[in-house]
Symmetry: C2
Subunit: 347 residues, 2 copies
DNA sequence: GTTTAGCACTCCGGGAGATGGAGTGCTAAA
DNA sequence: TTTAGCACTCCATCTCCCGGAGTGCTAAAC
């Protein structure tokens, strides 16, 4: 059977109507919405074909039709009109992203909340950390004979520091030596190599020096590993409670539990700026009845962030996609401008 | 009318039964639970008295009784037996708090999740930041002629640092001078005085120096203000969906919205280690039908943290109180041991 | 005076029909 | 190929009904 232009039009009407009403769409409604050029009987014939082809489903005989995942997929790929944001909306997005220099993670989570309240679905955000980040420079500032401050600059120009309580007394000369060793042997290598390097050096130096060195290195490893880890933050999970498909408390609980605990398995776009996953296209068990739209944006050189939205398969793809793009662009600009040159990420 | 010992016993049975079943408790059940020493008819007489006195309520004639807020209050104050945690539970709590040195906020939020999953209610946690925190030491590390690293140590021995892009070229001599100025004039004063001090110094120095100084100071102010702000984190809000009192999606949505957006207005214990607020004792509109149990613990010298739990008025106060105490002690130990002496809070 | 048995009464919750509306599928005609 | 017409299906809603749980009261027993 062929998918005629009219069939596509009908599918589009069904999808868009169902998105807004969450009720099966009947032939009469469709006929009216298509301008009355054809009768409802004709529509009915077409609908039967669309069901047979797998684009629509029927909850039961004598009910209207609802789109199947395959139907949504076709809609998203071909039928959906790319929505433009109004100037006011763009304005609002940028305003929501207007924030002072703060901890990266806080900026991210605030963005998540903004996205969620914008699209009225749960949102998730993440900064995908740089893998294999290296230290680029070490400093030690003496506080007293048992305490010093480690300062470590990393490849992405972020700086981290901490007060270190030394396990033994240390003199100025040793300190300088230590810094020298650190900068010579422990810069420009990834965290997982640091421990190996440290072991190699064990024999060549005094036990005291080694102790101090290993204390510092272990701090460096911690920090680098922490920045490599990517953390996903969810926001606005309670939005789903407004949706008719989650009236059932158990269903809502399941999804919310997933969003709270298993967020690591939320989809990340592999390439391309945007990805849409519909119902069973998701791998996670808990997302089989939901759709996910996720956009990515650039942060630093080879770092990427992402903003995503989780909703029912009946989600307003066009609106969500447009807004998500707006946010991704805004965040890209925010990080592109503020982070590298002047207000670098904070310690 | 007098509140006899037997009335109290009956009240206790009603509260504890209702806590576990969420169903009105009938006279027969009570009689059975009290060992059959009195008949249900006697209990009925007593129940009528308790209703009249305001300790119990009746959803409608010919239904069992449920405790009123006043009833819960009496229960919490007098009747509740202080529960002891088993060794296994204490073990589990300490295990849940076993974490590597990480960002303070992350430790806190992880603790929140642990608490929530322990008691099966939403939890909230916060570190109440030190007000009027001051810088205790500044350092500047030159990177190149346009960039340097600011390192600031604070009164609580935490260290923060950041790469600073200078607005003009700077020489080694100036840098030393700058550090000297910073350490002389901007340590041991709170953030809100820094700007004033800066203004006073404007005239006494060259415009170039002033520019550099103000850049550094503004960083310091940002950091100090940020640490003073207290942030409350909620976890496990979806737990409420399991409770029969929140089967209604609207109710659940309202409370979850509150926990997500207005968490700042969640109660903080003013003094004493633990506080219990029952139903209308809460100020927040959204908490009128819920109870809050909150415990506090010490962090540093004059810093306090808190862990709290939000649940239905029918919450298992004894169990929650015991576990919360356990967590508070664990966190107290965690911070008391790890933070000040050795693994100080991270930059 | 307090406790208990007995009994009529109330109220809720849930199941069984009954009803009507929305929508379909099919047939036959245009 | 499209359309009008019609019988049919299925769901949602409403009402009604009934049983069970629990009460309040009264009168007798302790």
């Amino acid at each position: 059977m062929e998918l005629t232009e009219r069939k596509k039009q009908i599918l589009k009407v069904v999808v868009e109507d169902y998105i807004h009403t969450a009720e099966p769409v009947g032939s009469k409604t469709i006929a009216a919405e298509m301008g009355g050029s054809v009768s409802s009987a004709t529509i009915r014939n077409e609908l039967a074909d669309l069901v047979e082809m797998g684009y629509l489903e029927q909850p039961h005989t004598s009910a209207g039709r609802i789109p199947s995942p395959k139907g949504y997929r076709l809609y998203v790929n071909e039928l959906m009109e790319r929505q433009k944001l109004t100037i006011a909306e763009t304005e609002r997005i940028n305003q929501a992203l207007q924030m002072k220099m703060e901890e990266l993670s806080r900026v991210i989570s605030q963005a998540g909340r903004a996205v969620s309240s914008f699209v009225n679905y749960p949102a998730y955000v993440a900064a995908v950390g740089k893998k294999n980040l290296c230290a680029s420079r070490f400093d030690l500032l003496s506080v007293d004979e048992y305490n010093c401050i480690v300062v470590m600059m990393m490849g992405d120009n972020r700086v981290k520091s901490q007060l270190l309580r030394l396990q033994l007394k240390v003199e100025a000369g040793q300190m300088a030596d230590l810094v020298e060793q650190l900068n010579r042997h422990f810069t420009a290598i990834p965290a997982d190599e640091m421990n190996r390097r440290l072991m190699e050096m064990a024999e060549e130096m005094s036990p005291q020096m080694f102790l101090l060195l290993s204390q510092t290195v272990s701090y460096a490893v911690d920090v680098l590993e922490e920045s490599g880890r990517r953390e996903i933050i969810t926001a606005g999970t309670n939005q789903i409670l407004k949706l008719p498909e989650f009236r059932d408390a158990d269903k809502a609980h399941e999804l919310m539990g997933f969003l709270a605990d298993d967020k690591e398995s939320l989809p990340v776009p592999d390439e391309g700026p945007m990805k849409i996953l519909i119902g069973p296209e998701n791998v996670s068990e808990a997302l089989q009845d939901t759709s996910v739209v996720v956009a990515s944006y650039d942060i630093g050189d080879d770092m990427r962030g992402l903003v995503g939205v989780v909703g029912p398969t009946r989600m307003d793809y066009a609106a969500v996609a447009a807004r998500l793009t707006g946010f991704a662009e805004g965040l890209s600009r925010l990080f592109g401008k503020e982070l590298p040159p002047k207000e670098d990420t904070q310690t």
